[in-house]
Symmetry: C2
Subunit: 798 residues, 2 copies
């Protein structure tokens, strides 16, 4: 497109800000001191370890300068998401220039002293990271691990109609799977009720050591690809600053105009259906304005500018001279006064107050909005008996979530995220309150799809996690419901988010954000039919390796406890919560008040299930719904056959209670732990996942007579109870465990032990013949007075 | 395009095979017995649990029938990769019809008895999975977790110029990130030396409960997207079998013609540069040929056909009648004789022998090709002293890998896979032997890119893992070199692959495949500069939760042991190997013969480093390069300051030696473990990753006086030694650990303890001032006779 010429004063402001930011970025990469070059560069001014990245800087600062112009001219509400890795120096420079950096870090003021500190602290022990981490004002995307910028950008603008998030997508990052599918956000963004994302695909052509795919497929193929993603791409290309400034300014104007038109048409009802959103492809040299050649090899415009173009300026006088020349070419004397303060030509180009991208209220923790929650007690099921009120816990929860959706209809500050599994996970009641967000074509037969729906379903856990993170980090609330096994798809995203949260604990200027809560259903004990590939409870092991301060794990044994736990998680801030709950019908154990009390404690003795009044012969502990069911069935068998045995049943809802208090804020003090678990009675602990996690969490607790049962990676296509048997968490196996571990019992209860083995065999024979469990293991008799104390024979079913 | 008409006999064969496969798939979903419907369907013929998926079946069988036609007419070498989930019933039906299924499972012959068993065993306890798992002949992609079909397909055809892999991409699966970026395989596939991938994007419009994105963006936008990925898409669409048969046959002919032209032009040198590869978009109804409506609601062509269209035929006579009618509409009497054998109209459509897709030699373990390996001893470094020969272990390994590349040049059966990090990980020597595969545009300044290169670099761990899996499962060799922290990106892919390998252990008809070996460099102790987001050693915890029979973990302490371990891994089969090794210069500890012996044992006492001759006062154990360095530095300090202390140094290369032998095939027997680690001396164990893994692996070992140091999730941007200090694996901290845990030492060595604390503080002060470690912690003095036994003062550096 032929761009109109840019007014001279605008050009000057743009260029001054760009030069100033680039200058400061180079200073951060290299300088321990003397950032204003008030004296000739000497070796001692140079950092001993050069750890920054130059290549992406000039592109990021260029865009920042231009967005400032847009914001000022149009009073825009804009966030800036940086996809390229190692963009920290650029963003620290830009936010320092606009003042938001010094507001977060008063010890780094906008003067010579502050500038020196800014430079020294970058990528320095105890200082700032080389990425756009949480330490950088305005950031919601670190760019440490790559690929999440675009989904973060979408998450930030959902339900925030006035916000535009400009998202710089790096061409290296664009090769990742998460980024490649995040473009499909165009089919989920509502121009009427959501804000807009303006992607800028920055083609600087190289990664660390390789060309990038998207920079080498030609404009025609690239344009087709981006149109295929639902965009109208505008190309800005060049290496002459003046013409790039002119073209980029005009193109940004055009893009923001188009965004405005799309939104106006959708909001005043004149247009329906999906429109092509504008985006920009910016093709500029990697390491632009840096050294063109070093030792005869081209550096600017190649991968060699990715990190430190001049590798040894401390030890090499020629390189030091080149560094000084490089910095002087930005004409710092025009940009900063003698005291190091940015001059008017720079600061006049900067938006004011909360319009600065480093101080946008959507960033830095977002606007803290309360989630209106109905009283969770209104949704609990009523028990006539222990093990009664058989129901799908997630289905019960669905009713609560439906009303959370209802209650948040005005504020629009709550969304549900799921990879096409809400219905499968029995949470479908939420569709009574809102629809699935959907901007693409609809067929007559389709149901529950709408442009303004607040249920996000796409078959990409990466996209969902990215959207949710963006939504939370800008102050809203959400829940991620997924299959347990496949949540490992976002293991690495979880790592990055957990590290982000952990780092924010020391940043008081960041407001607390609503927690990231996972609801894992269709769990390992309910994946008998889908088979081995769907069986993996290891996400709990994964999350519990991150900082205890930000990790919570809940294993509610029934519907009422699931309600209580979810309510608690939705109220929490700055945490990652993982809840595991089944979708298949389960017995209920605790009534409303008991559930609240039990979840508040997180762990407790179930007296009504225990036969021990004082010291027990055995502690039967359980964590998880299937473990609880099998434990109570085993207790039922034991009280029938060995009524004299003193059993204590302990149920664990909050897994973190098992850790010592010096290892986790929820950790039980040793004396409380011993009161529950004793110091020397054998413990048969049935756990939802891999047994080693219980050993890890209880490491150092005094009672070593601990026998943990759980998933042992034994799976196949089979029945639910066969899954329990294969992994040794079945009631028969637990009775055998008790017999084997309580001193003296093995001889005394040899008959019962054999009976249990026989029952396992009978079950196996039945399963392989009929393809389903024996009815007696599916039905539930615990707590029915008429069966209490009577012995049932093998094969007898109700 | 207007398709030529299909000869009547070809149509009849296609349609007969399709109907037969669909018939058998329905039988698998529903029937316990009576699969030929020789008697009217009764309740007891129906499975009690209906656990299959119908929706994707008719598309998969349709394509299978058409590929058979192509294979027969052109004598093609073809693999079939099934992207849609739950496609098992389709593929078992098709392979049973062609005979390859019965060759793998002689107990399931091609007759009425076999048919009954085929039906009953599907998704049944002890039977076959509902996915296209390793149990299904011809499969290299399970489709349990979705998204990997296309990268698997590419991996299968690299270096196999005669092979065409047809890859059915599901429209649900296409929403995943890994699939979305796998399309870029077009820029890496060499038409001269590789085979071809023919993607068929199957738009059946729905996932479990939602429409799919790609089916709802219109043909124009979809075409743009696929052209943007580098393809020429051909659309086949319809719900009339006859016209779809005709169009699909003609389109497949055209696509395979084009593939042939592209390959011929590249191979005879008449064309250079990348060409657009053909692909097919197939738009047919979900659950096609199944019940159109059930209880008045549309099922065929909607998400309601995803699983079981008729939900209760056992208990509902109307549904049973509908099921019978549905099956009879396929006219089984035309397809099978009275004995249940497929008639000629079906079998005549099937290719012969190894041309059958269920029996293709590239599948089912691939052609077992030996990897020519040079003698690893020729690459070892020579030690003048312990801790000498300081070098980058991965750089040394690079020389070996370069020559593996050289040696495999003729066979082309080895590739390296890395996310743009080979150079960064100092493995760049391999470029002397081959280039990076690259079909896209090149710039003058580019280096080491070539269409036929065997180094695969794309910034997508998902794509690399998928390519490598496809390459290995078809019998070739490879190595995945990556950053340690970001390998979590493929956690879930690892899970799926590990489960695949585990399941193949019971399938004797599958040949062993070369192992999947990860080389994790740029590890947690060398990520001080990149900061917290790059620090995560948890992949080892992740992999060690999978079946011990297929998991190996190696932590070579230096260059020579890295060479030995890598050589071993490249020779292994049917395993997943994880090697962690640093790229920064490291001291070397073992000479050539010692390294071989030590790696063969996997764990051993380093007598030369120990001061104990008999029972030690303390065992200092280490696993990993940084832990070994710090441990030996601590021993050095201890022998200077406490020469009377009896120290035993144990180094662990093969982490799995720590487990008991009943938990891992490499596990040390208890008596050997005790010989090394004693039963009661305190053990200070410095481990590369999270300490809890060592506790887990040694769980149950008698010596409980175990103190493990490792990564404690304490990280930031800092220096290497500060990372060690923050996590307590530094030499000073280890000396303190020894003092604290050896009985009576604390009082005796109070001065040394204080000295160590002082040294830590001095280091911290220096680091924060100068931004780098004190030289004394980076340089290496261990083993130099002149420093042995003399005391060095704090601050004194060499």
């Amino acid at each position: 497109m032929s761009a109109p010429s840019l007014p001279q004063d605008e050009y000057e402001h743009l260029d001054a800000f760009w030069r100033a930011a680039n200058y400061l970025a180079v200073g951060q990469l290299y300088l321990l001191s003397n950032p204003l070059l008030h004296e000739p560069l000497r070796a001692e001014h140079i950092k001993p370890r050069l750890l920054g990245h130059w290549g992406t800087v000039p592109g990021l600062t260029l865009i920042y300068a231009h967005l400032n112009r847009l914001i000022r001219q149009r009073d825009l509400d804009m966030l800036y998401v940086v996809g390229p890795g190692h963009g920290g120096a650029a963003m620290q420079a830009a936010t320092w220039l606009e003042g938001s950096f010094s507001e977060a870090y008063p010890e780094v003021p906008r003067d010579a002293e502050g500038m020196a500190r800014l430079c020294k602290n970058f990528s320095f022990p105890g200082g700032m990271p080389s990425h756009v981490g949480p330490e950088v004002p305005g950031s919601i995307n670190e760019g440490g691990e790559l690929g999440y910028s675009l989904s973060h950008a979408y998450g930030a603008v959902f339900d925030r109609p006035d916000l535009i998030t400009t998202c710089v997508v790096a061409d290296g990052e664009a090769e990742t799977g998460p980024l490649a599918t995040a473009w499909h956000g165009t089919k989920f963004l509502d121009p009427a009720r959501d804000g807009a994302v303006l992607p800028i695909l920055h083609l600087n052509s190289y990664k660390i050591a390789n060309p990038t795919v998207l920079s080498r497929i030609g404009d025609e193929e690239l344009t087709a690809l981006l149109e295929g993603y639902g965009h109208t791409p505008y190309l800005v290309s060049g290496d002459d600053p003046q013409s790039v400034h002119r073209d980029l300014a005009a193109t940004l104007d055009r893009a923001v105009d188009e965004i405005g038109e799309i939104q106006r048409a959708a909001r005043d009802g004149t247009e329906h259906g999906r429109r092509r959103w504008p985006m920009i492809v910016l093709r500029t040299p990697k390491g632009w304005t840096g050294p063109e050649q070093v030792h005869g090899r081209q550096v600017e415009g190649t991968w060699r500018s990715h990190q430190i173009p001049l590798a040894r300026p401390a030890g090499d006088a020629d390189q030091r001279a080149a560094l000084q020349e490089w910095m002087r070419e930005y004409r710092p004397e025009e940009l900063f006064d003698e005291q190091g303060r940015p001059r008017a030509v720079v600061t006049d180009a900067v938006p004011a107050g909360r319009r600065r991208m480093g101080a946008n209220p959507a960033a830095n923790g977002g606007v803290s909005s309360r989630l209106p929650l109905p009283d969770v007690r209104d949704y609990t099921v009523t028990l006539d008996e222990r093990g009664g009120a058989v129901c799908s816990p997630t289905e019960v929860l669905g009713g609560f979530l439906r009303d959370v959706m209802h209650a948040s209809q005005e504020q629009r500050n709550f969304r549900l995220f799921s990879p096409d599994e809400l219905e499968s996970n029995k949470l479908g009641a939420v569709y009574e309150a809102t629809d699935r967000a959907w901007q693409a074509e609809q067929a007559d037969v389709d149901t529950e799809l709408a442009p303004d729906g607040r249920i996000m379903e796409i078959l990409s856990e990466h996209t969902l996690q990215g959207w949710l993170e963006g939504y939370l980090l800008t102050g809203r609330h959400g829940l991620f419901a997924s299959y347990e096994a496949f949540i490992h798809i976002v293991d690495s995203m979880f790592n990055q988010f957990a590290k982000w949260l952990d780092a924010t604990r020391e940043l008081e200027w960041r407001r607390p954000v609503p927690s990231l809560t996972y609801l894992l259903s269709s769990h390992v004990w309910q994946q008998d039919h889908n088979g081995f590939s769907h069986q993996d409870p290891g996400f709990l092991d994964h999350v519990t390796r991150k900082k205890p301060e930000i990790v919570r794990v809940y294993l509610p044994p029934d519907a009422n406890t699931l309600l209580c736990v979810t309510d608690h998680c939705l109220r929490s801030r700055d945490l990652t919560n993982v809840i595991v709950a089944g979708k298949q019908p389960q017995p209920s154990w605790l009534d409303k008040d008991e559930a609240v009390a039990h979840c508040t404690r997180g762990v407790g003795v179930w007296e009504w299930a225990s036969t021990a009044t004082g010291d027990p012969d055995v502690v039967m502990a359980c964590a998880g719904d299937a473990p609880t069911r099998e434990t109570l069935a085993a207790v039922d068998l034991l009280r029938q056959h060995l009524p004299e045995l003193a059993i204590r049943v302990v149920n664990v809802v909050d897994l973190m209670r098992l850790q010592p208090p010096d290892e986790h804020p929820h950790g039980l003090p040793d004396e409380e732990f011993e009161t529950l678990f004793t110091t020397d009675s054998p413990i048969v602990f049935v756990y939802h996942g891999y047994p080693s996690l219980i050993h890890r969490l209880t490491h150092g607790r005094p009672n070593r007579d601990l026998h943990v049962r759980g998933y042992q990676e034994e799976g196949t296509t089979t029945t639910p109870f066969d899954m329990a048997v294969r992994n040794g968490i079945d009631r028969y196996g637990l009775v055998i465990d008790v017999i084997d571990h309580v001193a003296g019992l093995r001889q005394h209860a040899a008959g019962l032990r054999q009976l249990m083995l026989d029952k396992r065999i009978a079950h196996d024979v039945h399963t392989r013949e009929h393809g389903e469990d024996l009815p007696e293991v599916r039905d539930w008799t615990w707590g029915r007075p008429q069966t209490r104390g009577t012995s049932r024979e093998e094969g007898e079913s109700r």
